[in-house]
């Protein structure tokens, strides 16, 4: 309905392969970005930032990572939590070892550790496929849960066994630690997520992205046109784990403030898997949609009944959350395996051909 594509013709391949070739889309996305960078910090209160927006962004990042591996390269992973943990703990160590260095930089660096780990756990993907691989990734999950829980060095021998995020300043504004305001942390997270999302989009639409999808859709044919399966998969594992790692670091540093290894247990791996299933496998926007969806469910379950004047206790909320999540996954897989992203594209198409039905 809002699309006026007549007259938007392309005279170069560069303009033809723009991220958003249609002008109306460009405006839309600019609007969203502008809103989240300028308006939200001004209007949103701490609850919104702390309870919804920050976790939403961080989960989006993790989901983005998993979607690169599972949605684009077709390698199912159940170890996301483990890789996030690696990111978080390496970040913690870095911050304590280099107190002077800019924490944002360290967060980005800590991603490389999990990338490295991802590489190692990706190696089996050469030999094993599908479920076998999925199970293999569980190894990562449980191993790191154990490692960071047991080996005291990782949490600097705290009695609590938890990692406490120290205060770090950036142009003497506290960006991490107890005294960092929600606004600041939100903006930091937003910047990092936007930046990494852009990179993801670029990789996905280029040579590497095509190689991933080729492996995913038909690995034999892919190899026969000269795509190296192992390298391609390993790159996917590395990049995916990098995103997971940074997400993990942010999860502790910009969201929780302090954490024990349990926050990275297998359930978080599943939740993130669910995000990309509901959001849409093989779609960048899907990661965000899915994350939003899953972050919002528990909040709705808590608040809706309260609004209706029948508050339910936390445990029940937890139970409902599980049930609803599970049910939703099955429903989405049955009715829209390509998730919210697909639903959105269908809507967009409808708008484009409006008032025609197709």
């Amino acid at each position: 309905m809002f699309y006026r594509e007549a007259g938007q013709f392309k005279t170069t391949y560069i303009s033809d392969q723009e991220l958003f070739p249609v002008k109306q889309d460009r405006w839309g996305i600019l609007l969203i970005i502008g809103f989240s960078f300028i308006v939200i910090p001004l209007i949103a209160n701490d609850y919104w930032l702390q309870a919804i927006l920050i976790p939403f962004l961080i989960f989006s990042l993790a989901a983005l990572g998993l979607n690169i591996l599972t949605g684009y390269a077709g390698q199912l992973s159940l170890g996301t939590g483990g890789f996030m943990a690696v990111g978080a703990y390496s970040c913690y160590k870095l911050v304590t070892i280099f107190p002077e260095t800019n924490v944002i930089l360290l967060i980005l660096v800590s991603g490389f550790f999990s990338a490295g780990i991802g590489l190692i756990f990706g190696i089996p993907s050469l030999k094993i496929k599908g479920f076998y691989l999925a199970v293999a990734t569980l190894a990562a999950q449980f191993f790191f849960e154990w490692l960071f829980g047991r080996v005291k060095w990782f949490y600097n021998y705290n009695d609590s066994g938890a990692i406490e995020v120290p205060v770090r300043k950036f142009f003497d504004i506290a960006v991490t630690g107890p005294i960092a305001t929600a606004q600041t942390r939100y903006v930091v997270v937003l910047c990092i997520v936007t930046f990494l999302a852009l990179i993801a989009v670029n990789i996905v639409r280029g040579r590497i992205g095509r190689a991933w999808m080729a492996i995913r859709d038909m690995d034999i044919a892919a190899e026969l046109i000269g795509i190296r399966p192992l390298t391609t998969k390993l790159i996917a594992f590395a990049i995916s784990s990098y995103y997971a790692g940074v997400a993990g670091a942010l999860f502790v540093f910009a969201y929780l403030g302090s954490a024990e290894v349990e926050v990275f247990d297998i359930n978080i791996s599943f939740e993130i898997l669910f995000m990309i299933i509901i959001g849409g496998l093989g779609s960048i926007s899907g990661a965000f949609l899915g994350a939003a969806f899953i972050v919002l469910i528990p909040i709705l379950i808590t608040n809706l009944p309260r609004m209706l004047g029948m508050p339910i206790n936390a445990a029940t909320v937890e139970h409902f959350n599980f049930m609803i999540l599970g049910a939703l996954i099955v429903l989405f897989l049955i009715f829209e395996p390509h998730g919210l992203a697909k639903i959105w594209t269908i809507m967009r198409e409808k708008l484009r051909v409006w008032p025609f039905p197709y």
Binding site: L76, V135, R150, F320, I324, I329, V330
Partner: protein, 311 residues
């Protein structure tokens, strides 16, 4: 060096070593049972049923829950079996039927969804807190026999578990071998068309296999519940069935059993002799590592068939 030491310990104290192996053997059997139910489903419907572990907990909880609700044990038992049937039935109706012909990975993820649903549902009904398995009521022994003047201790319940497990395996083997549905079931594993020619619809078969593995889950649940207590924490341990499968191969019953024992014994030994050296409780991941290690040499598992790729 320090990692070699344990070997001497084993030789040094064979009885203790025996004890460890026995412990491992018992857990191994339980792994095998879960894996077995799993293989059943995978062979018959090609579904990688992630929910098998949860079904164990769910079954056990239902049994205990019913009993707590005042139902006598021997009514509760068949009642639970009925519940497991209803579960199998509804899974087939609501999930499998609508997902038929979808890529396996989709079905796999669906079972993860199912897992979550069952966890939420179970906890909602029976509450989150751990429960005691009604061992006595089910007339299961709970003493222990000792050998080598109390050096080697075998729990009677463990022995019972092993026996029951063995029995149920035998029983199932017979069932698969002799009964019409059993044959059909095996046929499905090889070729869906063939199965139809036997004259049993796929859907029935699916219900049946899911039901059978539900029952197996119940047995497992009881045994396990008797050893520890019944709570959803179990479901994580139940995931151990997965490395067992990798080891044994998804499609092989034998593999499930052998794999289960290897993992069970392997991780007990590892935990007991090496665990301490690296901070303890390495059971959590050792199984997976063992499995991964095996994968490098036999990607299709110990007993899985080799896949010839065609283009």
């Amino acid at each position: 060096m320090i990692f070699i030491q344990p070997f001497f310990d084993m030789v040094g104290d064979p009885v203790l070593f025996l004890q460890v192996i026995w412990e491992g053997f018992v857990t191994g059997i339980l792994y095998s049972l879960i894996a077995f139910g799993f293989v059943l489903i995978f062979k018959a419907s090609g579904v990688f049923n992630f929910a098998q572990g949860i079904m164990v907990v769910f079954a056990a909880l239902t049994l205990v829950g019913l009993h707590e609700a005042g139902v006598s044990a021997f009514v509760a038992l068949p009642a639970t079996i009925l519940v497991m049937y209803v579960l199998a039935f509804s899974v087939e109706r609501l999930v499998l039927r609508s997902l038929v012909n979808q890529p396996d990975i989709i079905l796999f993820m669906a079972t993860i969804g199912l897992t979550f649903f069952l966890i939420g549902f179970g906890e909602f009904i029976f509450g989150g807190e751990p429960k005691m398995m009604i061992t006595e009521e089910l007339l299961l022994p709970y003493d222990s026999i000792t050998f080598f003047d109390d050096m080697l201790i075998l729990q009677e319940i463990d022995i019972a578990a092993s026996i029951i497990a063995a029995l149920s395996l035998v029983f199932l083997a017979l069932f698969l071998g002799k009964t019409k549905i059993g044959i059909a079931l095996r046929a499905v594993a090889d070729d869906h068309q063939a199965a139809l020619s036997v004259g049993i619809s796929l859907n029935t078969i699916w219900v049946v296999v899911w039901f059978i593995s539900g029952v197996i889950a119940l047995i497992t649940g009881i045994m396990w519940g008797a050893k520890s207590d019944v709570s959803f924490a179990l479901s994580i341990i139940a995931l151990k069935a997965l490395p067992v499968l990798i080891l044994g191969g998804f499609t092989s019953v034998r593999g499930a059993i052998v794999g289960g024992l290897i993992i069970g014994i392997g991780e007990k030994i590892g935990e007991f002799y090496w665990g301490g050296l690296v901070g303890g409780s390495i059971e959590g991941w050792l199984a997976y590592m063992i499995a991964l290690f095996f994968l490098f040499f036999r990607p299709q598992g110990l007993f899985g068939e080799k896949i010839i790729e065609r283009v």
